[in-house]
Amino acid sequence: MLVKVQQEDFDPMAEMAAFPADAIAGAGGSVTFIGTVRDYSEATDILAMEIEHYPGMTERELERISAEAARRYDILDSLIMHRYGRLAPQDNIVMVAVWSRHRAAAFDACRFLIDVLKTSAPFWKKEITPEGARWVTDCPGCRAGSREGHTHAPHVSHSHTQLK
């Protein structure tokens, strides 16, 4: 498993091509999620996106969920890349690639990784709009990609109430 957290842009296919070949020998396929900066948000234009992160914890958390995916699913290996710093609309933010012998495991693991990443990896987005800057404050479960109901990831507890 490989985790990269960096400011620079990345080329998803070049990263996949550079992945250690022996780790994914026998793969029948790969599933890749690429997340990009949207150019709108609740009826406002987005000029840029600033991503803050918690150095050290981000890598640790991404490695933890990669290991968890390898335990849960019959995959050969995985790659997670995530950027921080100032990004422009259309820029790549994140990619998750998973290789497996049989594609069902790669689909399941890729989806698991991006879902869990979004609720547990310490990154925070700040949208720069014509009206100013504002933190993206959605509750993480609400951003889990579905319009239907959701539950919060059980491994992350956070308080929605007063702390004192």
């Binding site: 547990s120 925070w124 959605d138």
Partner: protein, 80 residues
């Protein structure tokens, strides 16, 4: 000492990125550390949606901290 870090909107609200606090005698939970840091900053993060980490791991606010720990507070994450 307890090494406390704040990130993103929580860092902006409390006005502190990092602060080191003396380890309280008699022990402390993560929630206690937050209260101590709030006292130090003169800011109360009332009603905030907060996550906490100790030594780079997500933890509940009830966890006990040890001398030398790095304790971080931040809003629900919005990466990906």
């Amino acid at each position: 000492m307890i090494h406390v870090k704040f990130f993103a909107s929580v860092r902006e609200r409390i006005g502190i990125g990092e602060i080191s606090l003396p380890m309280p005698e008699g022990g402390a939970t993560v929630a206690d550390v937050l209260a101590l840091a709030e006292d130090e900053a003169g800011v109360v993060l009332q009603g905030a949606h907060l996550l906490a980490a100790v030594n780079l791991r997500h933890v509940p606010f009830s966890d006990v901290v040890r001398d030398g720990d790095e304790v971080a507070f931040f809003p629900p994450v919005t990466g990906g």
